[in-house]
Symmetry: C2
Subunit: 268 residues, 2 copies
């Protein structure tokens, strides 16, 4: 199947929360690409439900999606956050190009560039460590149960996350920024902003909402100065700033990042 | 950076368990591609530790990896399971090609094929739902704590996973196989085996080890006949079978998939 380069982008997600779709929105907004955000439409939720329905087996061109975010681009329909970012990034200057196909005889050897795999791995790291694991602190037993039914477990999980996992992940990104391949330490990869920077920004922003005291302490400690420097840098990118100041940017509530004061009350 | 097409593949992982590296091994074995598996060497663990050390900031060509599996191919070093699969799949006939770069004036319009994004999303779904979530049943509070320190939580988590999440994921893959895009229902995508099938096989194989009674019941119920049919089909692929019968295939123990009988004792 193929997606026409001129087809509009259509983003489908649950209404009312930034959620995982926020990573897609930030990429499109940073690149100043037009898109339709169906999550703000009255039928936004039912559109998602029709796609993830147990009766939907997809089409001749597309397998069914399991969960939102879902991106439609012409005939193409894809899901999974990191997968959508991978699709969009190289098209809009926020990631290296896809590797060239093998050289054919009359065009000479292709120059192979594998930078996209590094950007993809950095985005996957942030989504896993600073997104999914942060989410699991308030739902350690099961996503399908209420927070109220797993509060003692959440407290233990949050404590371990804040004290062990979070510093480990921040330390990793600090190392990436200290490394030569970052191209100077302002951005994660190759000396310019990629969608991996946008993902890291969004995860940090969500963490600041969920664990404000913890993040303040970590920032003030100075050990992750490059990471928090990147956060501030992304926030000031003109197109990103315009988006964050617009009413298209949704507030946090009961999504991936949730603020339960009791999960960091030892810092009072 | 670029990786020579003739450079050897080097896989780095923890010794003694199949773990997440097993998805990479299965791809390479199915495609009958030579590789060096450093996890079987005496220095396998220390090699991993040197790469993920808090002191490693990577090189001029590569950011540091956070965790294994790690793949080295010539000058290129990448990590994250789904990322390594994405790198290898199109090179070895186990996924559609990367999308063509935009057409240049004198070569006419490029034919764009986006099938790789579907294969990537199906692999991500299996890794998330049937790998990570299965792992979290025995470590719901924290990966860094012992199972013995989270047994009551693990019991609740496993019950929810077995009764709610697992059927939901199996139902999803059954729908994918029932859908037109599978190309006949023998394989997940496009009528031929891709690495997404290998990932689904490996996850089901691990689940059969971890929750033998649960999986037997689900298989005998007949509701996921296409999924279990695919499992049997992958197992009989000549190159896969040769690998599974070899001493290169490691036994399960204390990795992602663990067999704690108490986590399904209600099925006794």
């Amino acid at each position: 199947m193929s997606a026409s380069a001129t087809a509009p982008y259509e983003l489908m997600y649950w209404p009312g929360i930034p959620g995982r779709a926020e990573h897609i929105r930030l990429l499109l907004e940073a690149a100043q690409v037009a898109y339709t955000d169906h999550s703000v439409a009255a039928a936004g939720a039912s559109l998602v439900l029709s796609h993830i329905s147990g009766k939907n087996t997809g089409t001749a061109l597309n397998p069914p999606p399991f969960a939102p975010p879902i991106l439609k681009h012409g005939d193409l329909l894809i899901h999974q956050t990191s997968n959508i970012l991978l699709y969009l990034g190289p098209k809009h200057g926020l990631a290296p190009a896809f590797p060239s196909p093998p050289a054919v005889a009359d065009t000479g050897p292709a120059v192979e560039d594998d930078g996209l795999f590094h950007v993809n791995q950095l985005a996957l790291m942030a989504l896993d460590g600073l997104g999914n694991e942060a989410h699991d602190t308030h739902h350690p037993v099961a996503t399908g149960l209420y927070y109220e039914d797993q509060k003692p477990e959440a407290k233990r999980a949050a404590e371990h996350y804040r004290n062990v996992r979070l510093p480990k992940f921040l330390g990793f990104f600090e190392r990436v920024l200290a490394g030569e391949r970052s191209g100077g330490g302002e951005w994660l990869y190759g000396g310019r902003m990629t969608y991996a920077d946008l993902v890291l920004f969004q995860c940090l922003d969500g963490l600041k909402f969920a664990f404000p005291k913890t993040l303040r302490k970590l920032e003030e400690g100075g050990e992750y100065a490059k990471v928090f420097g990147l956060y501030g840098r992304v926030k000031e990118v003109k197109s990103v700033k315009a988006y964050l100041d617009s009413d298209r940017r949704k507030g946090y509530s009961n999504g991936i990042y949730r603020h339960y004061p009791e999960l960091e009350e030892d810092l009072d």
